[in-house]
């Protein structure tokens, strides 16, 4: 990567500050161009690939129609359950396979990459894409490939194959011993196995449902339990590794699973395509995928209005009402979509009795965005289901430029202390309070305690000096 553009030189759509852009470009190159990776990169990649290749080989044999398929599968499961990718065991084991009932059902259709003429409805399955040539003669390899390629599991153990009926089955997948079991449901269609959905114990999606036609952005809701409440959402096009969209929603960080709702944006395709929605949670320790709920959807070309990140022209949004001698128009700050980095202003009219203007404004903030505003993409931690807004605010004092805002501890009790929640609450309160020139910083208390807020927000202080 060399410096294609001379510093300060023209570039298409260069933003309005070429000088800063040039400084940035120079600094990035000065820093990065000196970095030389260690020489063992390829070797490391191959080493790590090798521990996987055995499994892929096993899959190839299966797909190639080697007899006694289930025996190998059973061994794969055993080897993995034993916690290792031990090539030797697997290879040796494959020569001493046993035949089980499963084998008789899986060996008959031994076509691999030959073309497949029977139509399978691409909107009814999540994987593999009926339009490409990849086919699975047995459910376990299909489940494994789905878990790694689509759901993003890196380490996995296949569990029991439930044998509910001849043409439907379930395979469980776990990332680690004792970890949550994601259940992958498969159906046999036209003589090969397709994944129709996966279900994670801690992620329940109520909206949208499987098979729905989606437009971007779309609304999603359900219940989830996850580290910091965070559930990653991926919008995938069937058969493509690149997500068309990513986002996240926040459920509960502590049991039981709590409700989530949010908007997810994706890049609309040129024509409707089969897609897959993946909701997954990651491990706090190593970031690996722990569990995933997923199902097929239809991604339409439709794009709804403006991007939610913009949430319209915010300076004019909201219901300003009328500024009268008794009323004053103020701003309350909420978020837009799932972007935690930006807050946007909406107007509110509050009583203008001067000493209480900040109290009234914070009260308006606690009431949250209206339904119409939520539909337009505004999001917030408010309103919190913790009683009437007036009961959620104990009081506000301004002293020496610092506004001390004493919130009800019930707000804390209702909100998981996920980083998304704490960041959202801090920045919304801060920006709303500092619209007044008399306020430069904010102290947030819960039931009068600075320590209580600091603890909940996992910071050193309850004093907030920047958004």
């Amino acid at each position: 990567m060399t410096d294609h553009h001379p510093p300060g030189g023209p570039s298409p759509a260069e933003p309005d500050d070429p000088r800063t852009a040039a400084r940035l470009r120079r600094a990035l190159h000065a820093r990065a161009d000196r970095i030389e990776p260690a020489s063992d990169g390829l070797h490391r990649i191959e080493e790590r690939l090798m521990s996987r290749t055995s499994l892929t080989d096993a899959q190839k044999w299966i797909l190639g129609g080697v007899a006694a398929v289930a025996g190998i599968l059973a061994l794969v499961a055993v080897v993995l359950a034993g916690g290792g990718d031990d090539d030797g065991d697997l290879a040796t084991g494959s020569s001493t396979t046993t035949t089980t009932e499963e084998a008789t059902t899986t060996t008959t259709e031994a076509t691999t990459t030959t073309q497949f003429t029977q139509p399978v409805d691409p909107y009814a399955v999540a994987f593999p894409s009926p339009t490409d040539s990849r086919r699975f003669g047995a459910p376990a390899p299909a489940a494994r490939a789905y878990a790694t390629d689509v759901l993003g599991f890196t380490e996995l153990t296949l569990g029991e194959i439930g044998r509910s009926q001849d043409d439907t089955t379930e395979v469980s997948v776990t990332d680690r011993e004792g970890g949550p079991e994601t259940v992958i449901r498969l159906e046999r269609l036209e003589d090969s196995w397709f994944v129709v959905r996966s279900t994670a114990p801690d992620i329940e999606v109520t909206e949208p449902s499987a098979g729905t036609s989606l437009a971007t952005p779309f609304q999603t809701s359900g219940r989830a339990l996850a580290f910091e409440g965070t559930v990653d959402v991926l919008v995938l096009e069937q058969g493509s590794p690149l997500p068309r969209g990513t986002g996240f929603v926040t459920g509960s960080g502590t049991p039981p699973p709590g409700p989530f709702s949010g908007r997810i944006v994706y890049t609309a395709p040129d024509e409707p395509v089969p897609g897959v929605l993946v909701y997954r949670t990651l491990s706090a320790e190593d970031g690996r995928v722990l569990q995933a709920t997923s199902f097929p959807v239809r991604l339409t070309t439709e794009q709804l209005d403006e991007e939610p990140e913009d949430c319209g022209d915010t300076s004019d949004s909201g219901d300003p009402g009328e500024a009268t001698p008794d009323a004053r128009v103020v701003k309350v700050f909420f978020h837009c979509g799932t972007d935690l980095d930006e807050v946007v202003a909406l107007r509110r009219t509050v009583p203008a009795d001067d000493p209480a203007i900040l109290t009234n404004t914070i009260g308006a903030l606690l009431a949250g965005p209206t339904e119409a505003e939520r539909d337009a993409g505004f999001t917030s931690v408010f309103p919190v289901d913790a009683g009437a807004p007036s009961e959620q605010l104990h009081g506000v004092v301004i002293d020496g430029g610092v506004a001390t805002i004493d919130l009800s501890g019930r707000i804390r009790d209702q909100l998981a202390n996920s980083s998304a929640n704490t960041l959202t609450l801090r920045s919304e309160v801060f920006r709303t309070a500092t619209q007044f020139s008399s306020v430069a910083a904010v102290e947030i208390l819960f039931d009068g305690s600075c320590e209580a807020f600091a603890q909940w927000s996992q910071s050193d202080s309850c004093l907030v000096t920047e958004p």
């Binding site: 990567m1 294609h4 553009h5 298409p12 759509a13 933003p15 309005d16 500050d17 800063t20 852009a21 400084r23 940035l24 470009r25 600094a27 990035l28 820093r31 990065a32 161009d33 000196r34 970095i35 990776p37 260690a38 990169g41 390829l42 990649i45 191959e46 690939l49 090798m50 996987r52 290749t53 892929t56 899959q59 030797g88 040796t92 020569s95 490409d132 990849r134 790694t148 390629d149 919008v235 058969g239 590794p241 690149l242 997500p243 068309r244 969209g245 990513t246 944006v265 190593d286 970031g287 991007e307 990140e309 913009d310 935690l340 980095d341 930006e342 980083s419 996992q458 910071s459 050193d460």
Partner: protein, 174 residues
């Protein structure tokens, strides 16, 4: 079938070529985001493992798709790494972490101007930083950045604009 071929015989020319063409650039890109060469290498290796595994299973030989996929995987990997780092920091309850990690290559930061700009860059929100690095280091177009990050081209424009403005502000303030 009972024995595995040694690694050399299985070395995939496709992978070797992909490594030669992209590995170093991607490590540099990742290093700008996580500020730690070792970690950057791990992130890029993860991306290669993932793309190679996919190739074994699906036809992923579109010349455009592969580098784009690698880049996406690297950005995601860097973001997860930063998130994990942030979580660790919060648990340690340390005050205002230094913007440049101790693992950074000190000599590369010798230049005061460079350091100044990079510190300001690391104060920006993640998304803005990503967009700026892809734009001003990797020289990607808005459309390419949008694909890489899985966001709309409009958002790319917004993030680039706001990011650069915020960067200028940080630089002026110091």
């Amino acid at each position: 079938m009972a024995t595995m071929a040694p690694i050399e015989q299985r070395a995939d020319p496709w992978l070797v070529e992909l490594y030669r063409s992209h590995y170093r650039d991607l490590v540099r890109l990742a290093a700008l985001l996580v500020d730690d060469r070792g970690l950057a290498e791990e992130i890029v290796q993860d991306a290669f493992v993932s793309v190679a595994r996919r190739r074994m299973q699906v036809a992923l030989d579109d010349e455009q798709a592969t580098p784009a996929y690698l880049r996406s995987a690297v950005m995601n990997g860097a973001r997860s790494a930063l998130r994990r780092r942030a979580v660790r920091r919060r648990h340690l309850r340390s005050v205002e972490p230094p913007p440049i990690a101790p693992g950074a290559d000190r000599e590369a930061l010798a230049d005061a101007e460079t350091r100044h700009v990079l510190i300001a860059l690391h104060r920006l929100p993640t998304r803005q930083r990503e967009v700026l690095v892809l734009r001003y280091y990797a020289d990607l177009t808005e459309a390419e950045i949008a694909t890489t990050l899985g966001i709309s081209a409009g958002s790319v424009k917004t993030h680039a604009h706001r990011g650069l403005a915020a960067l200028a502000q940080h630089l002026e303030a110091e």
